[in-house]
Structure formats: structure tokens, C-alpha cells
Subunit: 276 residues, 2 copies
């Protein structure tokens, strides 16, 4: 789908970028997307491997786990990368220039961050996610406020009283909230209390609340409910499971489903996903 890239260095940068985003690439997909032969891709991967930062595998390559301060820059979606991109692109249509957005932590919101930067829109974003904030701050068009608080190293995001108190100063147009679980009866749920509390606070500080959830999250119910479905203005998802969607619609929720362009990242090599 990407235009043919005939510049070897630029092509390698493209590969590295995709590795950052998806964490893994396949020789086959790269050769198809970049319009070159698989041999060329293999040679590229070898070069990139020399420079560190990736590890070659059969069928492709995976990004090395970023260490130390570089974690903050690593934009990576472990799974459903294509679905998350599709959701993010769909969500982009809801955003107007000069708006103020809230975004909580989560890989779907990372995907949205990429689209925000690409859009060159002037925006203000408030987020507890360190990697979302670091990514967004690279754009001269986006003003980023990072919510303070204790840093959880698993997610590299802040939460707790400091974050909530700082959040209370803001008034946003849209809150983009990435779900951990969403059901018609239990609403939006998380497995950590502080995530749920912060999500609820975000909901109350934005005119519009939009939930982003891959099909994996729909029907999932975690321990703590952040808020119920009637607080949700819109759900953007790639889920096409009619049963679940029907339930959610009957709970009074608007739902926007987006197509994930099939074929693209159809088959990632299976054995390498859990490398650490």
C-alpha cells in the first residue's frame, strides 16, 4: 500500500519506524508494502541488526526491548496493531483543529497519538502516559501536558491523587479513553483501581467521551468499573460481533465500527511474540 520506496536508507528508516510501532515485522509484508524483493528486505534487516535495536528472526524481525530512558520513546503496540491503527484513523475524523483532548494510557491511544502528529493539527493534549506525551511532544503543533504522579513502570504512566488533582484544572473537548474491558452491563472496566478512577475523572472533565476499544476488549469485564455505558458518547471499535454490538447499542451507546484493511499484517510469525 505504501508507495514504492527506491531509496535504501529511507526504506530502512521506514522499516525501523514500523518496528517501533508494531514491535515486529515480516519479510513478506515488508517486501509487498515497500515494493522490493524479499532478498532486499533481508539485506536491510541485516544492516539494521548491525546497528542494534532489532533482532532478526525467521520470517522477519522484532524490536529489541528498549532500555532505560528510551522506553519513553518506544511506541509499540504488541498486538492488533492494524486494528488499533484503523480505530485511530477513524477517531481522527472526530477531531477538529485547536481542540483540547484528554487521552489516557493504552496502546490504542498510542496509535491515535501517531495519527495526531501526522495530521499536523494544532491541538492541546493532556495525558498521564509518558510515551504518549513523549511522542506527541515531537510535534511543534501539539501542546502536551503530562499529568504528574507516581510512575508505574509496567505502563510508564502516572496515576493517583496528583494526576487527578492536576486534571481537575483542565476543561477538554474530547476524552479519548482506551478501554481495558467494556460490557453493556458493567460499563468501562479496568484491573487497577487508579486507572479506573483516572478514567472517570477524564470523563467528567471532557464535553465528549469517546471510548476506543479493539474487539479483544469488547465483552471483557475487569475488576473495577470506571463508569457505566450511559456516560459514553461514542464507541469506536473494529469489532463486528453483532451480538456484543447490539447489547452495547441497546445500552444507549453510539457505535462506530471501522474496517481493518485485511491482508496487511495478516500473519505475524507466532513464536516470537513473547521474547522477553
Amino acid at each position: 500500500m505504501v508507495s514504492k520506496i527506491r531509496n535504501s536508507a529511507a526504506r530502512r528508516l521506514t522499516i525501523q519506524r514500523q518496528l517501533l510501532v508494531d514491535g515486529a515485522v515480516t519479510v513478506e509484508a515488508l517486501a509487498r508494502d515497500l515494493g522490493v524483493s524479499e532478498a532486499t528486505i533481508r539485506r536491510d534487516l541485516s544492516v539494521i541488526e548491525q546497528e542494534g535495536a532489532i533482532r532478526r528472526t525467521h520470517g522477519g524481525a522484532i524490536a529489541e526491548a528498549p532500555r532505560g530512558a528510551d522506553q519513553a520513546f518506544a511506541i509499540r503496540e504488541q498486538q492488533d496493531g492494524e486494528a488499533k491503527r484503523a480505530i485511530a484513523r477513524s477517531a481522527m475524523t472526530l477531531i477538529a483543529p485547536d481542540q483540547t483532548l484528554l487521552m489516557n494510557d493504552g496502546s490504542t491511544n498510542l496509535a491515535l497519538a501517531r495519527e495526531l502528529v501526522a495530521s499536523r493539527m494544532r491541538l492541546t493534549v493532556i495525558t498521564p502516559g509518558v510515551n504518549i506525551a513523549a511522542y506527541l511532544s515531537e510535534s511543534p503543533d501539539i501542546t502536551v501536558y503530562l499529568l504528574g504522579g507516581q510512575l508505574r513502570h509496567q505502563t510508564l504512566s502516572t496515576s493517583g491523587g496528583f494526576a487527578e488533582s492536576m486534571l481537575s484544572s483542565f476543561n477538554a473537548d474530547i476524552a479519548f479513553i482506551a478501554a481495558e474491558g467494556l460490557t453493556a452491563t458493567s460499563g468501562l472496566t479496568y484491573s487497577y483501581e487508579k486507572d479506573a478512577v483516572l478514567a472517570a475523572a477524564m470523563n467528567s472533565k471532557a464535553k465528549t467521551t469517546i471510548i476506543l476499544a479493539t474487539s479483544r476488549k469488547i465483552g471483557q469485564r475487569d475488576r473495577i468499573t470506571a463508569f457505566s455505558t450511559d456516560a459514553i458518547d461514542l464507541l469506536v471499535t473494529d469489532c463486528h460481533d453483532t451480538k456484543h454490538l447490539q447489547d452495547l447499542k441497546e445500552a444507549g451507546m453510539d457505535v462506530e465500527t471501522c474496517a481493518t484493511d485485511a491482508g496487511t499484517v495478516a500473519s505475524l510469525p507466532t513464536n516470537q511474540a513473547k521474547s522477553r
Copy 2:
């Protein structure tokens, strides 16, 4: 598409602009779009390369300072890395387990963060620096509080009212403050107002204030003074310039100088992983 540009300087500007936007260009496309021969484009690229900012490649060129996600791969090796490590190791001797530390942004404090993680000491650290916080959060022994606020992309650190107000809740044992400039008469100085204000706030919230400064910073005076020398409990530096040090000592400051020579480094058993 583009009308034929007959002015070489204007054409080069067009090329540079496209490099800025797209990150990469190809000789073929430029020759077609600008209506000149490929040889001309190659000459243009060579000229632009001389001025820096781009790197020539087969097939075209790419922007030298890769933007966006690519920065993650380019871990900038910092100036005076050896001196900063030596200062950080020296500062480590001043820290006891279970203390609460304040650390402002700056590469010397990043070096200190490495030592903190390596030490396996139980600590609490409060910092506005995103990369310092991300680095420290790797350690299970360190509790990290990230100060909230607007994120400056040059330094990837927060500052401003939110950070100060959050900071006011903490009471720390030691504030490690990385200097931008330090002189006996003007005290600790910064080029940005908000950095200076935050440094002053840190000073007031810690029992002990320790300044970390490489020799490059000593004698340097920037626009804004954070606080004067009498607020400083100790200066840790690699500077051996007797004149400057004498001035600072006369201003009532304790000074600890550390050796940076390779010999000293070898004798110390710090085997930090230096992971890359």
C-alpha cells in the same frame, strides 16, 4: 507538478523543505518534479549535505536529524559523558538508603540516575525529567514521582505552575540540581525562567542542596538566577580550575572535586551494564 524552478538557490530550498516534511527524497522524483536533470539534483544534494542537515544516500537523501519516532534509535551520546559519570559516582557516596531525592532535568542527573539504579538502593525520587523518570522506573527499588506540567520537547521535561504546586507537597532529603551555569557572584543560573523557578523550589523543599556541574558549566552565567551560592550545601564537579574553585569556596560553598581520568575509572568497581 511544480513549475520549473530556474534558480538554484530557490531549488535547493525547495529540496530542503521537502526533506523537512517527508524526511527523505529521491533523486528521480526531484528531477521530475523540479524539471531539471538528475545530475543537477545530485549536485544540489551535495551542496546541501555540505551545510549539514541531510545525509546523502543512494537514490536520494534523508534528513540528518531524523524526526519523530526515529529519534528513539538515535541515542545521542552526550558531551563530557565521562565527567558526568565521575560526578555521578561521587554524588552516590552522599546518598543513604530510603532517602527521598529531588532531581531536576539534565544529563548529569541522567548519569546519576544510572548509578542509582545500579546501586539497588531503596529510594524515592521526584523529578520533572521524563527520561530520568523512565530510566529510574526500571528499578523495582525506586519509587518515582514525575512532576506534572507542560512538556518541553527540547528537554523532555515538565515545568511551570503544575510542577511547582505538585512539588510543594514533597519533603526531600537531598535535591540534586544539575546546573546550566554557576558563578560565585551570580549563583546558579539557567537560560529558561521556568527551569530556574523549579530549581529554586527544589532547593527550598530539600534539607540538603547539592549542585552537580561539569567544568564546562563552572564560570558560566546564564540569564536567570535560580538561587545564590549561599543556598548551596555542596558542589560536586570535575573542575580543577583553581581560580574558579577558589572563588566558589570563598562564597562559602563546600566543593568536592572528582577525578575523571581513565585510571580512576578503572579502579572503581562500578560495572554499570551500559546497556544499549
